[in-house]
Each structure stands twice: as C-alpha cells, then as structure tokens.
C-alpha cells in the first residue's frame, strides 16, 4: 500500500528538512516541470488525474485552476489554506509539521501552472510547530533557489509568505480568508466574481487545501494513471483519514481513498474502547451528517459518503459512543457554530444561537415537545441556499441527522425532563 504523502515523515514527529526531502526525490517534480512542461500542461495533468480538493467540498482542483485568466499582466496569487479549524479535524497538521517542503513544492508547481506571482500559507494561530517548520522551510527553499527570482534558472519567479491567523473558524472559508489576508474581518464575499477571477486585492487567486497541494509534485512525477491506481474507487489518490472519540487507537492514517468505515474503525482505530458501543460518527468533521452502524460498509470517498446521506468532508471522523449523550454532543457542535458565525446574514446570526438554546434547554430538563419541530424548522431554514455562506448549512448537517437517527434520545429528554445520561456534562 503506497503512502506518498506521509511515507517519509519521520516517526518521531520531526519534520523532513530540505536535504532529507531532496534525498527522497524532493523538488525533482519542480525541476521537471520548469524544464519540460508548459504551465498549461501542469494544469491539464492535474485535471486528468481528477484530483478533488481535500478541504471539505471536494471540488476538482484542475478545473478550479482552469478558471484563472491566463495572459493577463499583473499579480496573481496562490494560497494554501492551512486554517484547519473544523472541530474533529487534525490531518493538515500532520503534513504541515512533518513534510513542509512537500507543501511548498506543490505550491510552487500550482503557482507555475496559474502563473502566480505571490504565494501565501494561511496558517492558524494554534499550530506553533507548523509555523516554525514552515518558516524554516520557506527560508531554506529561498536559499536553495526554489523560491524567489528566476527559480532554478528559469523565467519563473515566485515570492512566498507565511501568514499566521488570530483565530476564527470563518478564516477557513476561502473568500473570508481573502478578507482576513487583506487585514479585514473574516466575512465571506459574494460570488461571483469568483476568487479565480477577482480574489486577493481584486487579483486572480487560487485557494487550495494543504492536503490537496501536497499532491501536486507526486502527480507531476508519476502521472495521472498512477494517481488513480492508488485508490479503491473512482476518486483517485490516497486520503488522510482520522478517528477521534472513545476508540482504542485514535489517530490519522494515509489510506487508499474509498476504504470502508468499518475497516477504518476496526482495523486502524482499533475498535471501540472496552465498555463503549459505537452509535454513530460524523464522517468528516463537525459539519457533516451522522452515519450509524447501518453505514459501516460505506466506502469513504466523495460519492460513497454522499450516497449514504452525508459528506466525506475532511475525512476525519468523530465517534459518538453509547455513553455520550447525542443531544449534548449536538449542543456542543451548535455552540461552536453559533460562536463562530460571522454575523453577516440573519438566518445564521439569529438561528444558530436559537438552536443552541433549544438544545441547552433539552439537556437541562426544560425542553418541550414543540422544540423538536422548531429544531427541524431551523435545519430547513438554515440549509443550503438560505444563508450567505456554507457555515450555517454545515451546522445543520449534524443536527438534522441526529434528529433522524437519535430521535428517541431527544424525546426521552423531553419526557423525563432531564438528560438521561450518567456522564451528563456541559
């Protein structure tokens, strides 16, 4: 089983530094592209590989790049989205801390493909080790001639900066990220115009996830057929999956795309801890619908999880066990979303705190039968198409699916006027 993205990351958690990265073939894809390939050929290759974005939405990367207007003068930007703040998600951290040059090489290749002049890593505040490694990697890449003017003697030049954030989940939403990089509040922008045409400071801009960009050098070196062969399914490549919650071995693993939920849970995460039973899981972070034990044979790729009524999202699963209250679990999520709402549009600004309060009252024994209908109405009214960005619809995914799969728990809270779980916690 090949693990292109993580195989060279040292087990002790240290980073692969420049010399070590070069020793395992690092920057050979950049040399090859600058020597033998036109920018459009790099884009076409990524398009043919059918690489889908690993940031949560699964948008085709080559397609996204193809919207950038070529042959226009002036600056263009490439941004690595390293904000990783989706609760339950810890996959980009591994790549940032362990293999920073793999990300940089991918960013330089992506910049070459769209002819970007400047690139940024937008890194969340909490990733201190990643910040240190990225800073060092950027400096080393400049010294070695992989960044700056006339990279490796070619006509291509690129400047790279690391930007560290000051909190807020919204910074991960790509247009809000652009506002934040411009020094503003991280509120999203209306689309169109799409960032590919008018992004950072009004210039063409591509935003891609860390895991997405970490693929580019491998695809350039090994081709699209190889990329597709890594996967069990039609979505190519491997995926970094993760599991957290009351399992025996929580962690993250790079595995063929399309592995089943069962294999992930039982073989890699070591099954449930003694005394705990699996009730369900969010397959890809806080803003995905629950799946239950009826879904254990679902293939964890974009189409497979979608067919089961959820989303692959970030591919990092949060497990709900039988001793954790599903209502409390969803209350915790809605507290997060209500707090992180940027307040720009009314349904989300008003609806999320309302949702949170209803769940709180259920947990505290003051819920009423009409509350369930109220929650369902919120799930509809804050759903896709009714809000300015995807935060609120994402927030409704765990809620609506919890109402479907754990309805008896909600009803029990109302009937007994208390949370029936012993490990009742807020």
């Amino acid at each position: 089983m090949e693990r292109p993205l993580t195989q060279h990351i040292p087990d002790n958690g240290a980073a692969l530094h420049l010399r070590e990265y070069e020793a395992v073939g690092g920057y050979s894809a950049l040399r090859k592209a600058l020597r033998d390939m036109e920018p459009a050929q790099v884009s076409t290759l990524v398009k043919e590989a059918n690489l889908k974005g690993r940031g949560g939405a699964g948008f085709a990367t080559g397609m996204k790049w193809s919207f950038v207007p070529m042959n226009v003068p002036g600056p263009k930007y490439l941004i690595a989205n390293a904000d990783e703040m989706e609760p339950g998600t810890f996959k980009d951290r591994w790549l940032l801390e362990g293999n920073p040059h793999q990300l940089l090489e991918g960013m330089i290749l992506a910049s070459y493909a769209i002819q970007a002049t400047d690139a940024f890593v937008f890194l969340r505040w909490a990733y201190k080790d990643a910040a240190r490694e990225m800073r060092r990697a950027i400096a080393d890449a400049y010294t070695a001639g992989y960044l700056g003017k006339n990279i490796l003697g070619s006509a291509f030049s690129l400047e790279m900066q690391l930007h560290t954030g000051v909190g807020r989940y919204m910074c991960g939403e790509e247009t809000a990220l652009l506002n934040s990089l411009e020094g503003k509040r991280a509120t999203p922008r209306a689309k169109p115009p799409f960032p590919q045409v008018s992004g950072l400071f009004g210039k063409p801009t591509i935003v891609n996830n860390v895991e997405t960009l970490s693929w580019i050098s491998h695809i350039v070196n090994n081709g699209e057929a190889w990329f597709k062969s890594l996967s069990y399914t039609a979505d190519g490549g491997t995926k970094i999956y993760g599991v957290s919650g009351r399992v025996n071995k929580p962690g993250a693993w790079e595995l063929p795309m399309g592995i089943t939920m069962r294999e992930l849970l039982e073989e890699h995460a070591g099954g449930m801890r003694n005394g705990y039973r699996f009730r369900g899981a969010l397959p890809g972070g806080a803003s995905t619908d629950f799946l239950t034990d009826a879904h254990l044979d679902v293939k964890m790729d974009f189409a497979g999880v979608a067919a089961a009524g959820s989303r692959l999202g970030t591919g990092t699963m949060v497990v709900l066990d039988d001793r954790t209250c599903p209502v409390g679990f969803v209350h915790n999520l809605e507290h997060f979303f209500a707090q992180e709402s940027c307040g720009f549009c009314t349904p989300c600004r008003e609806g999320l705190p309302w949702t949170e309060k209803i769940l709180w009252s259920l947990e505290n024994g003051t819920g009423e039968p009409s509350d369930l209908e109220l929650l369902e109405r919120h799930a509809r009214l804050l759903g896709p198409g009714n809000t300015f960005c995807a935060l609120a619809p994402g927030a409704m995914e765990p809620l609506q699916s919890a109402l479907k799969y754990f309805r008896e728990d909600f009803e029990q809270h109302i009937k007994e006027k208390k949370c029936p779980y012993a490990h009742h916690q807020h």
Binding site: E84, M85, E86, P87, G88, T89, F90, D92, R93, R124, W125, A126, Y127, K128, Q161, G165, V166, G167, R168, Y169, S180, E182, G183, K184, R185, A186, F201, G242, V243, S244, G245, R246, P250, G251, A252, L282, A286, T316, V318, V319, L320, D321, T324, G328, F329, N332, L333, H335, F336, Q339, E340, C342, H423, Q425, H426
Partner: protein
Amino acid sequence: MLSAIEIEKISHELRHVPVKKAACIEALKIVQQERRWVSDESVADIAAMLEMSAAEVDSVATFYNLIFRKPVGRHIILLCDSISCYVMGYTALRQRLHEILLIGYGQTTADERFTLLPNACLGTCDHAPALMIDEDLYRDLQPEDLEQILEKYH
C-alpha cells in the same frame, strides 16, 4: 503612544501591502505582542498610523478571538471545548482549573498569572482532551495532571 519598536515593526509590515489598511491585523498582533493586550489608546494609535478610523480598527480587533481588548494575565490558558474534547471529558479539566485558579472563563487570577479562555478545536483531537498555555500544547490530559503543569508558569 506606539513605542519606537512597534512603529518600526508596523512600518516593516507596511512595505509588504498594497494599501495601509491591509496591515491592520498585523499591527494589532504587533501591539499585543509588546503589551499583552490592545487598549483603546492603542486602537486609536494604530488607526492614525494606518489612516483608518478607530472604529474600523476596533471592528477588526473585536472580530478575532485571539486579539485581546481587555487586560490579560502573563499566561493565557486556552482550553479546547470542541467536540472530540467534549467526548473525552474536557469539562472535568474545566472544573479542575476553576478549583485551582478560582476563576471562570474570561477571568484573570488576582496575581495576574493566568487568564482562562475556552478555545475551539486545537487540531489535536486524537489526543483529546487538550489545552494550550501560551505556545505550549498539552494533550491526553487528566484533571490530576493540571496542577503540575500550571507550576511551570510564573
């Protein structure tokens, strides 16, 4: 008044941006690094330097949860209160922190040693529950670990 160091650092940032406003977040970070928090006076000083209104600077400052607009202690404790840490029992950590420090969220100890804040997912969910103190990450925590950890900070 901004110090000479602050002015120099902000001026350095201004060289990298096409319009002065774009340095707003960096300027707030610089002032906070020097003074631990950003006062009304500093907001006005940054506004003057970046040719913005104070209200505009404040609207940015108050949007971001890691820019502090109130005085804070010498060390900031950020306790993860997101979902994996919820499942793994962060509330017991919160309880223990309240007992040891005698403060709630958003408060600072009388000796100004610690400020306690909740924080969204720290991205280490496979080692939940977790917290950060200043730049240090602590993972796989039990309530009984906390006392010893806090002793490292003066």
